[in-house]
Symmetry: C2
Amino acid sequence: MRHNKRSFYFNNHFMYDTIIVGAGFAGAVLAERLASQKQQRVLVIDKRRHTGGNCHDSYDGHGVLVHRYGPHLFHTSNRAVFQYLSQFTDWHHYEHSVLAYIDGQKVPVPFNLNTLSALFPASLAQSLENKLIGRYGYGTKVPILTLRAEDDPELKFLADFIYDKMFVNYTAKQWGCKPEDIAPEVTARVPVHISRDNRYFQDAYQALPKHGYSKLFDALLDHPAISVLLNTDYKQVLTIDFEREAMTAFGAPFNGNLIYTGPIDELFGYRLGSLPYRSLQFQFEHFNEAFFQEATTVNYPNNHDFTRITEFKRASGQKVDGTTILKEFPQDYDPQDSTRNIPYYPVFTDNNTALYRQYRALAESFGRLILVGRLAEYRYYDMDDIVERALQVFADEFA
Amino acid sequence: MRHNKRSFYFNNHFMYDTIIVGAGFAGAVLAERLASQKQQRVLVIDKRRHTGGNCHDSYDGHGVLVHRYGPHLFHTSNRAVFQYLSQFTDWHHYEHSVLAYIDGQKVPVPFNLNTLSALFPASLAQSLENKLIGRYGYGTKVPILTLRAEDDPELKFLADFIYDKMFVNYTAKQWGCKPEDIAPEVTARVPVHISRDNRYFQDAYQALPKHGYSKLFDALLDHPAISVLLNTDYKQVLTIDFEREAMTAFGAPFNGNLIYTGPIDELFGYRLGSLPYRSLQFQFEHFNEAFFQEATTVNYPNNHDFTRITEFKRASGQKVDGTTILKEFPQDYDPQDSTRNIPYYPVFTDNNTALYRQYRALAESFGRLILVGRLAEYRYYDMDDIVERALQVFADEFA
């Protein structure tokens, strides 16, 4: 057994300029910008053993590239974001399509003119199509609330059908509430797409990182001035005294900036209570068949406890024997329960938003603390949104 | 731009018990033992952006699992080592076989009775086989120096043939010297295996981690008390004062143990000079064909500048379209040159061994410094050897 000897304190002035908690898009983009544009020394800390946050992908035991935390299909109309990311990855062009299992058939969603033809008798479908095009024009998107407000009984029928069969049960499953508790006014903004465009997104840029998200994050963080500390809860190495506006890192004073992308309530020890999220449970299954289903994602609004099944090789284009699918089971979030402790979707109620604002107020006075990201800002960002936001934070705070 | 405010020093007593430099087998096994058996808090630092050292594997752009730093075929006769690692991985049973391209043919190496039949006319092969078996017995391994010392001209011929065609040019390429500079007494311990066993190794346990080395290292390091700091030169965060036997980590005194698995000369700032190594340059190529060659590895003793070609899917058993191969070009090592700065093979000359001993003496007095591994000990360890050594260091120093 080694014995510790007394050691001297050395006046080692090395320290990071910025410490970033969280290695998802918010953290990785800011680390990249600070290191490459501001010559800062950056430490990125993540409690997981990998970077990329929920975008992380890896090859499963069958050699299939899967998204460990659910499907991540990149799409954006923001050219600057796409060009920024293109510095760090090539792309596999992929336009997402989703089917929904309705009345024993798999039909395109969002609901469009093809869905109409698939579900209804030809004469009814034709009549509805004529009415929709005549009234709103081809290529438009009409909320079903608008259809419901029409006098025409067929358009009302269509609105109710979509609401009942495609929307309400799916939403109830997703959010863990009863269908009757979902207020139509609030939630039924689901559109009908008066088009034959079966694509799930209409963005100009739709693609997956050619060699996966993990390699994209490797590239973002591949800078000599960026250190990445994995498998580490930031609280293990960092103390934050909000009253004194002071921090220590690894036991030494830390005078730089802290960019925090984790849950804001955790940052304050949940002192005002927990912010609710929906979580997900994932079930991966592998089949020794070329393909499992007809599209990358099939939604199950009315059947089963899972909301959807995603088949990864249909999106990635990977050439591999066998196929791996993912079933997603929504569940409540509980930071204390390791089987449900991954926060995915903020739950936007008035109470929750008010609680978030209280936490936010606690953080505001601390000028060296910057909150970025889905968990720190308690809002839903798509991948392109959070990249845009991180670039904006960099411009506002550091440029 | 954020401005730094003055902060207070907090007496945060958190620190790691042990810091380990290098996340290869030496570092990862010791981290695992210290965390799981001694409840130590361990920080593992690696300058690369991945763990696993040269064992690291990953999927290439074509979805083929490749060994980024050359083929790593695990084999051991040490049951304890195999059982230890089996806690962290399942295995894909694989017995390595190697061919050598000789006189326009690919023949088994190490040279055995099958090689004899492949290369020589039947009557000569039969005569040699009879003599070898009669003289040494079936199943034995005979150094070609022994054959050369025989009176029998056919056995001498065989020894010279193997030396000239399979050994000397390969060795010259490997070590960057002229064939005539290789002293036969020193180097020609290459054996003839008097057997029809074409396997490269005869160890009881031969296998690859079923899902790759990277997942094995993930599992070794998957402990809440282990932090992994990647993309970080240890000198960025650690100072070592050998005279005072004192260290700082992240600017604060560090009173724990340092396990160092990097190059020993680097640890001392190369103050006595550099220890030489051979390095390698890797060239990966992908083919849209099921297989490229007849065996996992084909050696090229007399042709081309590369020493060998390895085809990964033959070893991994991965079912994937297309195949990726690796050509290895030996080269000199230069820690200052990023294209040749990976040290692979220590160069065992009297001078180098003496220099290593001098460095070792500098380290000896510092009781909290433990040197483990190929680079720190300037010796060649196979994977099983270094796992055994790490377990032994744990038992000696910490148990």
